[in-house]
């Protein structure tokens, strides 16, 4: 297939289809993933084509979903599970953190846990409580889990392929407010490794580092800054665990300035980790302290306030100005 334009949601659907076709051990499990095709329709049509044995509607029990996926993986299957919304992963958190993440180490490497946990995450869709959270740091903090998030259709497609092929558990955060964004997808181009950051836009004055839903905001900010004569480089980290610090370092050595942007609360967030490591690696290249833009130390607010809570163009540009003012 040549390059084609499709939505991020459709790219995921195509990717899951390919995974089911390629490997008979791949299973899809979750609430409403069958006939309904998931509440976001990411699994649309898959049960019809692959049957109820491969695309499994589960009871409404997240601990059960992940716990049984662990057992299926022990038996040689490669489950891809869907958690319906970010805020509903916590009933499964125990299974993910105390079991899934540690199994390989506990067995001295003798068993592998090729489980993918898909989680639509983040805000910006006007939803009610528990439907807009960004809990990536809670997972990235746990050794044994890979934590990734695509920002566009092409990455969604390829990163899902790589996640399914990984012998480690992957928490696959899908930026739900980008589901309907269309992008170019080339199903033949060979992607870089799953953890590799991408330079989404080249620039020389400052580096913006983001992932998932915030990449688009950062690209818009860079375009706006361009009009004021500022040259901003935008990095799409793609992976929050591990983080490709080499790519960030290379960029910061060039620009001398770094602003990290994410939706999740800044306090104890991935921005803190990046700021600390980059300060260690690039101390003599930095012209300004690494700044962070993100959510507040408050529960995700009701929908009518989410535009205030989420970093938008203005807040990113404000941080750019503050950094450049040093």
């Amino acid at each position: 297939m040549a390059a084609e334009k499709m939505s991020l949601a459709k790219a995921l659907n195509e990717s899951l289809r390919k995974a089911l076709e390629t490997d008979p051990k791949v299973l899809i499990m979750g609430e409403d993933v069958g006939k309904l095709g998931g509440v976001f329709r990411i699994t649309d049509g898959l049960q019809k084509d692959f049957g109820e044995d491969r695309v499994i509607d589960t009871p409404l029990a997240e601990s059960g979903i992940v716990g049984t996926a662990i057992g299926l993986a022990l038996r040689g299957y490669r489950p891809i599970v869907e958690i319906q919304f970010d805020g509903f992963v916590f009933p499964a958190y125990d299974q993910i953190v105390t079991q899934l993440a540690k199994m390989h180490a506990r067995a001295l490497g003798k068993i592998k846990m090729p489980v993918v946990i898909r989680i639509p995450y983040g805000g910006g869709i006007g939803a009610v409580e528990h439907h807009s959270e960004s809990p990536e740091a809670l997972f990235a903090h746990v050794a044994g889990l890979k934590v990734v998030s695509p920002s566009n259709a092409s990455d969604a497609y390829w990163m899902m392929q790589q996640a399914v092929q990984s012998d480690d558990p992957v928490i696959f955060f899908e930026p739900k407010r980008r589901y309907w964004d269309k992008g170019e997808l080339d199903t033949e181009s060979i992607p870089g490794p799953l953890h590799k950051a991408a330079v989404a836009r080249e620039g020389s004055d400052l580096t913006l580092a983001a992932y998932g839903p915030m990449v688009k905001v950062c690209l818009e900010a860079a375009a706006a800054a361009q009009e004021e004569g500022k040259s901003i480089e935008v990095l799409d980290l793609r992976s929050m665990s591990p983080i490709d610090f080499d790519t960030v370092q290379t960029s910061v050595e060039k620009t001398g300035r770094l602003v990290v942007v994410h939706e999740a609360p800044v306090f104890y967030g991935s921005g803190a980790e990046i700021a600390a490591r980059i300060t260690e690696r690039c101390f003599y290249h930095l012209e300004a302290p690494v700044l962070r833009v993100g959510g507040y130390h408050a529960p995700y607010p009701p929908a009518r306030l989410e535009d205030e809570y989420l970093p938008g163009l203005d807040r990113v540009l404000d941080a750019v100005d503050r950094s450049l003012a040093y």
């Binding site: 051990k25 009871p59 205030e308 809570y309």
Partner: protein
Amino acid sequence: MTVESTAARKPRRSSKRTSAAKTPAKTPESSGPQLVQLLTPEGERVEHPDFEIDLSADELRGLYRDMVLTRRFDAEATALQRQGELGLWASLLGQEAAQIGSGRALRDDDYVFPTYREHGVAWCRGVDPTNLLGMFRGVNHGGWDPNTNNFHLYTIVIGSQTLHATGYAMGVAKDGADSAVIAYFGDGASSQGDVAEAFTFSAVYNAPVVFFCQNNQWAISEPTEKQTRVPLYQRAQGFGFPGVRVDGNDVLACLAVTRSALERARRGEGPTLVEAFTYRMGAHTTSDDPTKYRADEERVAWEAKDPILRLRTYMEKQDLADAAYFTALDEESEALGKRVREAVRAMPDPDRLAIFDHVYADGSPLVDEERAQFAAYQASFAEEGN
């Protein structure tokens, strides 16, 4: 994956086993001796050996009014969502009898732990219906003080509140009070670990709690068979307390059964599971499209069991209400709809700084700092003159 070889060596031997496991046992029909019913779909009064009820004409008219007004409120909220005034709405259409019957069985000092769909129960508790709309409009996460009406906030995370109800009931028992607690949840929720743990705790501590499961047949797109292989009310037995299935579209039976379960709790005899066998006539929420997974005939069949129609038929047959009563109620319904519509349209957006309110009861320097930064940042736009 290292276990791949094991799996390859031992393929699933019997295809028979797979196919047998694939056919889920259907839960029994919505009739028969295990279903407590006091008012048939045709509006006939019937007796049940274990549950009786004797209501005055006034009380019957009251139940009817409750159901009609609740349905009207629900319809208005659905319309408001369609008009963009609400972000989402979870309709209770079809579940009025289960909610009004159980809600009217409660005493003021009882405590209610709802899901996100208990608009009829909220009505019975005296919560102003417009207060229920704040979270669906996106201006707050609750909108009422749970202690004013002993009606806890709506809980969206499935099944969580059954544990809160159990703990609250354990506290009631410790206090030596004779109040009871009721926890609402759905058939889908019955699969959650939290619900099993609530059953365990309530049984072990003999907590005065009634678990009121509205089996509306669907958890979004999944039918009850995807949650259980035995009728839900039978679950209770394994935990050591009684379970009863009631016709959830029969307001009299729901009232009688819930009342009896609450009295049992008050007497110190512990929990009861009530399964109200009912039907979600609309979509799961306004975001859902039931045509993807559900046949229309099913809804049509359940429409014949409509909880409001059947009570009306009974009242008309018994001459319990005249045309003037029904006309007045129609007018009251319209007035309620109008009041709700106007209240929602007038509902202000919260202050921006509300993001930082009530994060901690004790306050927090971190939150104070972020609030100050946020305020200064917002103010900078005003200074720029826009």
